[in-house]
Each structure stands twice: as C-alpha cells, then as structure tokens.
C-alpha cells in the first residue's frame, strides 16, 4: 500500500479536528474534536509502525506501543475533561465556552453585568 494514503487521511482528519476545536462552542463538542485529532495521530503512528517494521526490520513496535499509550491517555483525558465540564456546568449553568470569560483580558464584551460570577471567582 502506498504510504501516502494513511498519511494524507490522518492529515485531513487532524485538520477536521482542528476546525472543530476552533469553531465549536459547546465544550463537549470540543472534546469530540480533540478525540478526532488524537485518532488522526494514532493512524499515523500505526501506518508508520507497519512500514518501519517491514522496511527497517524494526522489532520494537514503538508505533503500536505508542498508539496504545495514546488511547489510554485519551481515555483518561476524556474522563477528566468531562468531569471538569460537568463541574463547570453545575457552577455556571452553561457549558458554552464562549461565555466562560472570567480570566479574559481586555474589554469585556458583556460589560460589567456579571459581578456575581466575578465575586464568586474572587472568593474561591
């Protein structure tokens, strides 16, 4: 198989995930896009591992081991990420990342209309 097929597919999947991370508002949709990006990297790792294990007689299988590690870390990441999103939702009543601007610098687009949230943030 031509190596360009999996490489191009993983590049396109990565850019799809990149678009999702930048363009989505819901935090859970952003997490889904991060999963797509991680999977694109996994496909790259697997393809290059298969290529190297034949071409260079590489017996370490580092690509597949790293893919397993990436999958595990992605599972941990999605657990922690969802726990954080749920905690934010319980505190703020929203999971819209465009509205979570407490640490934003510059002029606040919502004006001084959110003193309660800032007070809560200051008391934390």
């Amino acid at each position: 198989m031509h190596l360009a097929y999996p490489a191009v597919l993983s590049a396109l999947l990565f850019c799809t995930g990149l678009y999702g991370v930048l363009a989505r508002r819901n935090a859970i949709l952003v997490l889904m896009s991060v999963e797509i990006m991680l999977n694109a990297v996994n496909l790259n790792l697997v393809a290059f591992d298969v290529w190297l294990s034949r071409t260079a007689q590489e017996t370490l299988h580092s690509g597949q081991a790293l893919t397993l590690f990436t999958i595990t870390i992605a599972a941990a990441e999605i657990g922690i990420g969802l726990a954080i999103v749920l905690a934010v939702y319980r505190n703020r009543g929203t999971s819209d990342i465009d509205k979570l601007r407490d640490t934003a610098e510059g002029p606040d687009p919502e004006g001084p209309g959110t003193p309660a949230a800032e007070k809560a943030e200051a008391s934390a």
Binding site: M1, H2, A4, P6, A7, V8, L9, A11, L12, L13, F14, C15, T16, G17, L18, Y19, G20, L22, A23, R24, R25, N26, I28, L29, M32, E35, I36, N39, N42, V46, A47, D49, V50, W51, R54, T59, H61, Q64, A65, T67, L68, F69, I71, T72, A74, A75, A76, E77, I80, L82, V85, L86, A87, Y89, R90, N91, G93, A120, S123, A124
Partner: protein
Amino acid sequence: MNLAAAAPLADAAHAPHGFLSPTGVEIAFLLVGLATLGAALVTVTTRQLVHAALWLVVALGGLAVEYLLLTAEFIAWVQVLIYVGSVVVLLLFGLMLTRAPIGRSPDADSGNRWAALAVAIASAVALVWVVVDAFRTTWIDLDGPAAGSTRVTGASLFRHWVLPFEALSVLLLAALVGAIVLSRKAKADTAPGPSADLDVPGEKEGAR
C-alpha cells in the same frame, strides 16, 4: 520488496508498485477513508449535538477498519472497545448531564467559524503537500505475517515497554481518582442542576 518470498496468497498486482494502479487493499482503504473523513466532517459541522456523537461512532469505527487493513489487529479491537465502547458512551452521558438540547441548536458554532475554517484549510493544504511530497515513493509491504497481531504487540509491549506501561497504569489510576473527586465535590452539597449556582460560596469553600 522481496519478490522471491511472495506467497501464493499475495495478490498479483502487488509486485511492481504501480502508481496509478491501486491494489484491492488500497481501494478498500480509500473507500473506508472517505467514509471516515465524511463522518468526521459531519461530526464537527452538525448542529445536532447527539448526532455529532453518533457520527463520531462512525468515524472511530472507520478508523478501526483502517487499522485492520493496515494489519494492526490488536489496535483495531482496542479502538473498538475503548473508543466506540466507552468514550462515546461517556460523551453521550456528558451531553445528557449538561442538558444539551435535543434537535437543532443554532449556537453550536461560535462566531470565529470562518477564521477556524481558514486555519483548518491552510494547515490541511500545508500538511497534505508536505506529506505527499515526502512519501511519494514509499510503499508499505502488507504481505506476510501481520505486523500488529496480538502476539507481536504483546511481546513487544511486555518486553520493551514494561516500564512505560506500568507508569501508564498509575496515570490511569490517578485520572480515575481525579475524575471521581471532581464530580463528587459538586454533587455533595446541594441538588444538582442549573439551580446549583445560587449558593456558590459554600461550595467554593469545600473546594479549597
């Protein structure tokens, strides 16, 4: 690359690497790849949140098929078990617990959508150009014993990668405990739901 070792089960079109005569594996890879990419595109563009999670299942399942085509069997089944089995279920539970709207939500995309599209297209063009230019004359040899069967993967994992494997188990344990602590704290004080943001100070006090 070695033609003498060609097994009779190898397809005949393999021997001279025809640039414009794809083998059966390549055609299958291309078709499944198109389905995967389309599902991923729908996942990041649809306005129905639950549909996004369900299209993510299609994309991740398609990637599992791609792993099978690349003879990485163990990775493919791990992908099906962990991603399709548990990560998507976790995401669906997250959508339900944050009361995601069923049906179309008009504000699924943020205002910087066109900037995001420009960034994504620019990086896609750059990456595809570089990758195609770099690996134009490189072929994967898929014949012979599978490069990623459970036996091979297990042997390499427990011969060369034991220490990272154990460290990873500790990391997974830490992540589990962290997730439990993060979600238990919020649930302990009052009734969950959007009304829980009324008594913020006491809750924040417990978080310290």
